[in-house]
Structures are given as C-alpha cells and as structure tokens.
C-alpha cells in the first residue's frame, strides 16, 4: 500500500477536479456517511485513525476537534491554505487538482463540530486558485453538499474563500484569525485558545486545519480508522505529501506512506527526486522548509525513514515535509543568511525578541557574507538566536533562530571559511554592483 494515492487522486483519475468526475468516483459519499451518524462518532473515527495535522505541528486532528464545546451555538471551521513556508507547495497542488475532496473533508469536519460556516483562508498569491475554488464550492452547493439544509439533514453550513495579501505570519493560526477579521496578521496571546469561547474566529470556538489534513478525512470516513492505520507507522499513520525542492533532478510533490521511504529513496530514486544534478554530492537537507533545523546529509540521515518520530531522533522535525536539498557546492552560511532575510521580512513586529532579533541577525550575517565578519560574530549571532527561542508569542521567533543555531552546530566550517582571509564564494549569487543591492534593500519590495 506504500504507493497509494489518498490525496493526489488525479494520478489515478486524471480529471478528479471536475465535480461530475469526483461524484462518479465516490465523491461526497463520505459526507453522506458522516451525516448518517452522530457528530461525536465522526470525531471518534478520526481520533482512532490518529490522523495528525499536516501543516507542520503534527497534532492529532480528532483530539483537536474534540476540544470544541458543543454547548456554543456558533462555531467555525477554518481551512489554513496560507502555504508560505519556503519549500512548501503541496496545498496548491491539492487545491488545483483535487478541490472537491478538500471541500468534502472540510464539510465533514464542520459536521463533526456542528460548525455554522467554513472559511478557507488562502494566501493572496493563490489568486487564480481561489477563483477556481469558488466555482467548485458553487458546484457543491448546487449538489446539496454545502449550504442550506445539507443533504436534507436540517443542518446548514456555507463554505467561503478569503484571500490573504502577502504575509507569511498569517499561516500561524491566531494571526490567520486576526487577518480574517480584517486586522493586522499578528499572533494572539493564548489562552484563550481558538477552540474555546473567546479564542476563535469572531471569539467563537474554531477548528483550524491544514488543507492536506482535511483532504485525508473523506478517505478515513469511507474506509475506516483501521484501514488508515494500516498505512504508515504506529505513530505516523497514513500518507504524506513530500515537497521536494532545491538541487534535485526532479523536484515536485510526492505522496508516499509515512515511514515507507527514506530521505535516500526520496532524493535519489528515479520514481522520486532522481538524484543530484551534475552527479554532485549531497551536502545538507532542510527537512521542514526554512524553519526546521538543517541537517548534514550523512548516511545515517539519508537512511532515516520519513516519519514524525524518526526525524525527532535526528534533532530535526518532519513538519510540513518541505524538503530542500543542497549539494556540495552550497555554502550553508549563505543558506542561513538567505533564510534569515526571509524571517526578518516576515516577522510581524509584535514581539521584541523576534522583531529586533531577526533585524540584528540579518545585519551581522550581511557583515559576515561581505567578508567583514569578526571572529566573535559566530558567538554573537548564536547568543541573539538563543535569546529569541521561547520568548515569543508564536513559533516564528523559534523558526528564525533555527538556521543560525543549527548551522553553527552542524556546519561550523562554513562559518569559519568566512572569517578567514580566503572567504568562500557564494555558489548561486553572482557578484553584483553595489548600487543594485542598495536599491533592492531600499525598495523593501519583498
């Protein structure tokens, strides 16, 4: 069952995005089945399946749903489609190729918590995707699967899309809720948590799930928890979409059973990444986009099965499984500097350690990259990074510290190379006239 496509059903049924094709292939049968049983029974099945959140945290989805107090009359499901992590591009493919399965999964979640509305929050750049999704929602409304009196059950629930406007922080669930309410996307102080009265969307109890997570739900309802747990490992059931990018021959999204493949298979097998361009050696892996700890591509790492628990053993995380590959020519200090620029730009500015920390990390890394670094700079940025971790309202502060702390720990020679007379040359960024760098910095366009 290792190569089963639960999410990427377009591999088996090419036009599955079309409403008629989706319905003809068993589409919306899972929603009918869910509506024939009590909401609490739906939650029990998803709990028993041990579906874990695919957005990065890996929190058990059924448990999250069970936090919603049933006594409240107004409740929401919010679909997190703000996919903005460097190296992550899976949710877009799901939205483009299998949108009805997401809509169905969101409606099953909505039934399970007895929600009154579903909001799909898409990053603003998914402009075309959102307009297509609107059409698919209309089809589901016309079919009686969404909207008033769903399938004659007496329960009504509409699905709406909402576009962000370019802010990575809105992928953080409480910032996403702020943004949906028409405010600046800044994380909230918790408690109250989104599941509780006062903590969710418009202060109502709210479940927030990632696109990929919800797209698993119809399969689980149709086939049952045992069938789902037969795929993957005990602690990581089901399949996962692995976003493979960077220096591989065949970058792209690959669905595989959790624990069914190792880094080596994903990166080198012809069925997946197909190896490193130019036959170069692999040097490093970012397993969870820019935000996870970077690890050296040793034999031990390459032979690690891709699961939540096995990545933890490597002192890294599976996260959203956005795997960025770097070959032997890449200077990891350059990687740390690049990722730090991202976090400096994306820090919302609410918490001082993150706002000031990312600013100063970027400044010092610029100094190191320009050959002006001092031998004490490594200790300086290590200190700044460690004073960010654990001191912010959301995980962005922790994420921004990771590239620094783990580059220093795992690739100390790359830093040393910049702090001697013959500094390493960046492999992918050619030297440019200074005026261009200055104009780019002044534009603040990114």
């Amino acid at each position: 069952m290792a190569s089963q496509n639960i999410i990427f059903r377009e591999k088996d049924v090419p036009d599955i995005r079309e409403y008629d094709v989706y319905v003809k292939n068993g589409g919306y049968e899972a929603l009918k089945k869910a509506l024939s049983v009590k909401p609490s029974e739906v939650i029990d099945v998803v709990k028993a399946a041990n579906l874990r959140g695919r957005g990065g945290a890996g929190f058990p989805t059924g448990v999250k749903w069970s936090f919603i107090p049933q006594t409240e009359p107004v409740k929401y499901v919010v679909v997190n489609a703000d996919e903005s992590e460097t190296g992550t591009f899976k949710d877009r493919q799901i939205l483009e190729n299998n949108p009805h399965q997401l809509i169905e999964g969101a409606m099953i979640a909505a039934w399970a918590i007895q929600a009154t509305a579903v909001y799909v929050y898409l990053r603003g750049e998914f402009w075309d995707v959102a307009h297509e999704l609107d059409k698919h929602i209309e089809e589901a409304v016309a079919g009686g699967f969404v909207g008033d009196n769903v399938l004659g059950s007496g329960w009504s629930c509409m699905v709406y899309t909402h576009l962000g406007a370019g802010a990575y922080i809105c992928g953080e669930e409480s910032a996403l809720l702020e943004s949906l309410e028409g405010k600046l996307g800044m994380p909230r102080v918790r408690p109250p948590f989104p599941a509780n009265k006062g903590g969710g969307l418009y202060a109502e109890p709210t479940v927030i799930n990632n696109v990929e997570t919800l797209t698993n739900v119809p399969w689980i309802i149709t086939n049952g928890a045992d069938a789902y747990r037969a795929i993957g490992t005990e602690q990581s059931p089901g399949t996962k979409i692995f976003c493979l990018s960077g220096q591989v021959n065949k970058p792209g999204n690959y669905e595989a059973a959790l624990g069914g493949i190792t880094f080596r298979q994903l990166i080198f097998d012809e069925a997946y990444g197909g190896g490193i361009p130019g036959g170069k050696q692999i040097k490093a892996i970012l397993p969870s986009g820019g935000s996870g700890p970077i690890i050296p591509a040793t034999d031990e790492v390459l032979d690690t099965p891709l699961t939540y628990e096995d990545l933890q053993k490597l002192n890294s995380i599976l996260g959203s499984a956005s795997i960025i590959v770097m070959d032997e020519t890449v200077d990891i200090t350059w990687v740390a500097a690049k990722v730090t620029k991202f976090f400096r730009h994306e820090s919302c500015g609410k918490c001082t350690p993150c706002r000031e920390g990312t600013y100063w990390l970027d400044k010092v890394l610029d100094r190191i990259m320009s050959g002006q670094g001092k031998p004490t700079d490594v200790d300086l940025i290590d200190n700044i990074a460690k004073n960010m971790q654990g001191f912010t309202l959301c995980a962005l502060g922790d994420f921004a510290a990771n590239p620094i702390i783990h580059t220093i720990k795992n690739f100390p020679d790359d830093f040393k190379a910049h702090l001697t007379a013959d500094s390493a040359v960046m492999p992918t960024e050619p030297a440019r006239p200074a005026r261009r760098g200055a104009a780019a910095a002044a534009s603040g366009a990114d």
Partner: protein
C-alpha cells in the same frame, strides 16, 4: 465610485462575514484592481464602507505586501528569489530580467509598463525560476521565455493603451 461600480461584488463580499471589518482586505483588492494601486481616495472610501478609520485601513495596506501604496507598472512582476528558488538560479534570473528591462529592483520602466520586485516564497519551489505578473503565475522560466513574455505583454499594451 467603487460602491456604485462594483455594487454586486461588494454586496457578495459583505454577505460572507458577520462583521463589516472582515471585508476590508477583499475591498482593497477591488480598489487596487480599479486604480492599479491603493489611491488615498479609494482608501478613504474602503474605510467608510467598512466603518473603519482611514488610519486603520492604512495600517492594513502597510502590513500586507500585496497592496501597492504607490503606482506600479501595468505589469507588476514579482520574482521569487527565496532559498528554494535561489538554489535553482532565481537570483541570476532576477538580475537578467532587470538587465533586460534596464531597471533596478523596485523600479518601473520609463514607459510605465513594467515594475520588477524580488519577493519571498510563492509556493512554486519545484518550478523555479518563476514570477508572478499581476498575481498570475509564470513558471519554469529562463531568459528566452521571459523575453517572449515581455514581448507579448508589450504587444498587449500597445493594442490597449495604459489607463491613466
């Protein structure tokens, strides 16, 4: 103004949410679609429609990068130069594009047609180098392909002159 011209769309937007404030971002996109950028007058109009103070709306346009607070070229080209794209040559591609158009990052060509900016991750890492033109994606690019696109956009612009 916007309220009359886009009455139906605006009504549909308000109907989605229990509060007027939630409509501020979608309405700003309508303003930008109409004028090419968020003009001070349109900002005030959006504020009135949403029962907000213009300062609150101004904070939104400042925080979110997809709202332009100044005029841009007819074709607003945003090139992703983030890590995953950069590992596949996006920095060189960005520089080639700037050289082709004879501008620096963040600038607009003299004919008012093209603005080029580098941006953070656009969730197209496996199809780098790529860019977004007025929010539409163009992927797996190189210098030849982008030159062809530029020629196509120039022809398009000549057929339908730039709106004041």
């Amino acid at each position: 103004m916007l309220a009359e011209k886009y009455a139906e769309r605006i009504d549909k937007i308000f109907a989605k949410y229990p509060t007027k404030r939630s409509a501020v971002m979608p309405l700003l996109f309508i303003a930008q679609e109409e004028y090419g950028w968020i003009t001070p007058e349109s900002l005030v109009e959006v504020a009135e429609l949403c029962d907000l103070d213009p300062t609150q709306v101004r904070s939104i346009t400042g925080f979110y990068t997809m709202y332009s607070e100044k005029p841009k070229g007819k074709y607003w080209l945003q090139v992703c130069t983030d890590l995953a794209c950069a590992l596949r040559g996006a920095d060189e591609f960005h520089h080639q594009l700037l050289d082709t158009l004879g501008i620096e990052d963040g600038e607009t060509t003299e004919d008012g047609l093209f603005t080029v900016e580098h941006v953070m991750c656009l969730a197209a890492c496996d199809k780098a180098p790529m860019l977004q033109c007025n929010f539409h994606f163009h992927e797996n690019l190189d210098l030849d392909k982008v030159n062809a696109l530029i020629a196509q956009w120039r022809a398009e612009a000549n057929a339908a002159p730039v709106n004041g």
